[in-house]
């Protein structure tokens, strides 16, 4: 039995330490907002924050999480998170929506580091998140919109 700090709560996980954090969250703790897309860190659908930093949970061993604070889409809060979610909703970014948890986690990471990102900043922070529906134009616009609302 391992214990992780998930969205501010200590949670016991009955799983092999080799299990990727993604599957521990989804299957052992039934928190399904974090998505499985590829399992090889190519798509970003599984992005969560470890101590505030976006990471691919499909490549993070449960046993390596230790005392780090794990934040999933269900646990985000604060000014930046609200700005991002608000912009995503005002611009109706989502289509199928399956990748958007990961997109939002990456976008919050970017705006926390750089409150006024340039297009180049958005390129480098967001290029690892695939959206098969092709909502990229609105993702870019929503990040700029969130930045404006934070200013």
């Amino acid at each position: 039995m391992l214990t992780i700090n998930l969205n501010g709560t200590a949670r016991e996980v009955d799983a092999d330490p080799d299990m990727p954090l993604l599957w521990a969250i989804r299957d052992r703790l039934d928190m399904t907002g974090t998505k499985y897309g590829c399992g090889i860190a190519q798509c970003g659908a599984c992005t969560v924050h470890l101590d505030g930093q976006p990471v691919r949970s499909c490549q993070t061993r449960l046993g390596d999480v230790g005392a780090a604070k794990v934040t999933t889409i269900e646990g985000i809060n604060g000014k930046v998170a609200e700005a991002v979610q608000g912009a995503w909703r005002r611009l109706d970014v989502v289509q199928c929506g399956y990748c958007q948890s990961g997109q939002i986690m990456s976008a919050i990471g970017l705006l926390t580091e750089k409150p006024k990102p340039t297009d180049a900043d958005i390129d480098s922070a967001m290029d690892g998140n695939i959206c098969r529906c092709g909502t990229y134009q609105r993702i870019r616009a929503a990040i700029h919109e969130a930045a404006r609302s934070l200013a």
Binding site: A15, D16, M19, P20, W23, R26, D27, R28, D30, M31, T32, G33, T34, K35, Y36, G37, C38, G39, I40, Q42, C43, A45, T72, I73, E74, Q85, W88, R89, D92, V93, V94, Q95, C96, G97, Y98, C99, Q100, S101, I104, I122, D123, M126, D127, N129, I130, C131, R132, C133, G134, T135, Y136, Q137, R138, I139, R140
Partner: protein, 731 residues
């Protein structure tokens, strides 16, 4: 009438890989009538259907109004559009509207353009529901008014309704929830008055998407997120080649792993059942399976394409013809010959295929999935489990994309899930999960297709004759839809968009050959139009250039009998600044226009071609979908179509080496990424014609517009997809 016939007829061996699990074939009287849902164009007159408020609207005492959605929403936003249509006639307030996916019920919830089948496809959700939901909303409104009239003792005609509030000039006011119970007892008016467009308060106004909140806070439940009490996860080891089957299994190591519940052999492979996905993955790796490959497809995709090239030189089935194309080309002043190849394509929706089946305490089977053709899925699950269809309940979930893949004529992954439940005797709810690799290597691709075209111009540059041959595997032959959708050996989904071209060609002949390889193929967002539109629009462009004509003007001269196509072409050209000052060196504009699924789309692509390669900078689109129920959702679908289709223009291909699929994840089959996304502008033609769909029609025109723009920028004509852009860098 529902005509659903489950037979015990053996599945043809050629399709054994696809259908064996069902243990029988599902025969459906199926039609797909896309003549725009308008009696005037020879289509069914959907305005004559009954008013069914009880099927489509639930008004609760708490004043919420739930619209029943008979379709799958895989991202195209139809839940928002369908709810808008009903809510407008009901005069509801958008804030009180909720949506719920309807159960499988082909009598109540059939797709009016698919006959007795409940299903989503062919960009028909809005088109087939337009009158049905307006009537349901208007009837429900009339019933609420009648109930309020009783309660207030005033004439119904004096009651007005706006934003979910019923009012009378005496000052009486009430909300829907107060009258819902009494309204339900009122007779259903069969011909309720429908609003005129001027009265619409929601249609065309752009209400916010109804799923935006749940899809941005992690609360939307997709099929993969379904968690039933005691649920286990199943992964299936599939054969490495299509058409192979299990010969022998050594499951000892897998079965001994902690967390593994069972290993069962099913018609499509070997299923590992475990307490979670990761454990099932590890256990599947530990299986030792020996495959019987005696019936397997062992050819490489290159070899199949080479056979296609050969086949194309022989006479094929004639899909359409007029005049004597050969003689016209013989006598032509100029002749253009072009060949095009298109690879297999995976749908690669972000949510891999999966489904959960649970045997409920009442003896029923509950199915939780991104159900796309509910009538077939329900029948296939029932047939596989050996129960009657009424013992299977479907619970449609949000789907993380589909692009056609969740809808297979044999309901392949539903059958597989049911086969596991049956083999394991339904001991617990089973969640069948396909990994990304299973999903991408599992077949059901957009067919590999080969086209040749020979076209002649007369001395004035007018088209004299067009000779066109296509080779590709039919989607419908061998499927339950064959009898309905294949005529004289010709599958309409192979030739659509070419053999029925709206261009006024004086002499033409379209021939088709059906490929026979053992690779499962399927519709892929916009189906046959994915390749036919590209060929038609690139060749027309070549003819325009050969004639020394402007590509837009040349097209317009051939579209004199196609006013809506001409309309979108003119609009896109105007908005793109077509015909303005010459773009800088290495920059080019290309245009394409096409009709599909009753909708009309033109695109102008603005491409730069330099040292660092080709970049699509901008795409300007114009669309005509009739009434724009939600303009912003329409714009989003066209933007998304560009992002989706771009990867197939730039690089995507599924290849087989000795029968084994080579691309199995996003590293080797990479969708478009954010940095590649062009700026997209979408312009909508105002219209009061009943609406058609926009989920698919944005896709076909992107590739030819880009190809034509690359020619404009570089002078080089790239025809086959994906475009061989590396050849430009050497130029």
């Amino acid at each position: 009438m529902l005509k659903l016939d489950l037979t015990d007829a053996p599945v043809p061996s050629r399709r054994a890989f696809l259908g064996a699990a069902a243990g029988g074939a599902v025969l459906l009287a199926f039609r797909l009538d896309l003549r725009g849902a308008r009696a005037a164009e020879g289509g069914p007159d959907l305005s004559k259907g009954p008013a069914q408020p009880n099927a489509f609207v639930r008004i609760a005492a708490d004043d919420t109004v739930t619209v029943m959605i008979k379709h799958l929403d895989m991202g195209q936003g139809n839940t928002t559009g369908l709810a808008t249509i009903l809510a407008d006639e009901l005069d509801a307030d958008w804030a009180q509207i909720r949506v719920a996916f309807a159960p499988a019920d082909a009598k109540l919830y059939n797709n009016m353009l698919m006959g007795p089948v409940q299903g989503t496809g062919g960009s028909t959700a809005i088109a087939n529901s337009w009158f049905q939901l307006r009537k349901a909303g208007a009837a429900a409104r009339a019933m609420l008014v009648a109930a309020a009239a009783d309660s207030w003792g005033v004439p119904a005609a004096e009651i007005t309704v706006a934003k979910g509030v019923l009012s009378h000039k005496s000052g009486k006011q009430g909300r829907f929830g107060e009258f819902a119970g009494a309204a339900a007892a009122k007779p259903v008016p069969q011909e309720p008055r429908l609003k005129s467009p001027a009265e619409w308060t929601l249609i065309g106004k752009g209400v916010p998407r109804i799923d935006s909140v749940a899809k941005t806070d992690g609360s939307a439940i997709y099929s993969l997120d379904v968690r039933r009490p005691g649920q286990v996860t199943a992964l299936v080891a599939h054969p490495p080649r299509f058409g192979a089957s299990v010969r022998r299994v050594d499951a000892e190591a897998a079965q001994g792993m902690p967390g593994v519940v069972a290993v069962v052999t099913i018609p499509t492979g070997v299923a590992v059942i475990a307490r979670d996905t990761w454990t099932a993955m590890k256990a599947r790796e530990a299986l030792r399976v020996e495959w019987d490959e005696s019936a397997a497809e062992r050819r490489s995709s290159d070899a199949i394409l080479a056979e296609y090239r050969q086949t194309a030189t022989t006479p094929g089935l004639v899909a359409s013809q007029a005049g004597d194309a050969d003689a016209a080309i013989k006598g032509a002043a100029k002749v253009i010959e072009a060949e095009f190849s298109f690879p297999y394509l995976a749908h690669a929706a972000m949510e891999p295929l999966n489904a959960t089946i649970e045997r409920a305490a009442d003896g029923m089977f509950d199915v939780y999935a991104g159900c796309q053709i509910q009538t077939i899925e329900q029948a296939v699950v029932a047939a596989t489990l050996g129960v009657t269809t009424d013992k299977v309940r479907l619970h449609t979930q949000w789907a993380g994309g589909s692009f056609g893949r969740r809808a297979t004529p044999g309901a392949d992954y539903f059958a597989e899930a049911a086969a596991i439940v049956k083999a394991w005797d339904g001991k617990a709810p089973v969640h069948l999960v396909w990994t990304r690799e299973d999903d991408m290597a599992g077949g059901y691709y957009r067919p590999q297709v080969y086209h040749t075209v020979k076209a002649g111009l007369d001395a004035k540059g007018q088209v004299a004759g067009w000779r066109h041959t296509m080779v590709g595997k039919s989607i419908m032959i061998g499927s339950p839809f064959e009898a309905m959708l294949v005529k004289n050996g010709i599958d309409g989904t192979t030739v659509e968009g070419a053999s029925d071209t709206p261009y006024g060609l004086p002499a033409y002949r379209f021939e088709v050959h059906n490929g026979r390889e053992g690779v499962p193929v399927l519709w892929w967002r916009s189906v046959g139009h994915t390749h036919t539109a590209h060929v038609m629009e690139v060749v027309i462009d070549e003819l325009a250039h050969a004639a020394g004509a402007d590509p837009v003007a040349y097209r317009l001269s051939l579209l004199t009998r196609a006013p809506r196509l001409s309309g979108v072409l003119r609009l896109a050209a105007e908005k793109a600044g077509w015909g303005g000052k010459n773009p800088e060196k290495g920059r080019g504009l290309g245009v394409a226009v096409h009709q599909s699924f009753g909708s009309y789309v033109a695109m102008v692509a603005d491409v730069s071609a330099g040292e660092s390669g080709v970049k699509v900078e901008r795409v300007i689109a114009a669309v005509d979908v009739g009434v724009a129920v939600n303009p912003d959702v329409i714009r989003a679908q066209v933007e998304g179509a560009v992002g989706f289709a771009l990867s197939s223009v730039l690089r995507n291909r599924i290849t087989l080496k000795d029968g084994v699929v080579q691309e199995t994840n996003f590293d080797t089959y990479q969708p478009t990424r954010l940095t590649e996304m062009p700026r997209v502008e979408v312009h909508i033609v105002p219209s009061d014609v009943p609406p058609t769909g926009i989920g698919e029609p944005g896709v076909p025109v992107l590739a030819p517009a880009i190809s034509n723009a690359v020619f404009a920028a570089t002078g080089q004509r790239l025809r086959s997809l994906p475009l061989d852009l590396s050849s430009l860098r050497g130029a």
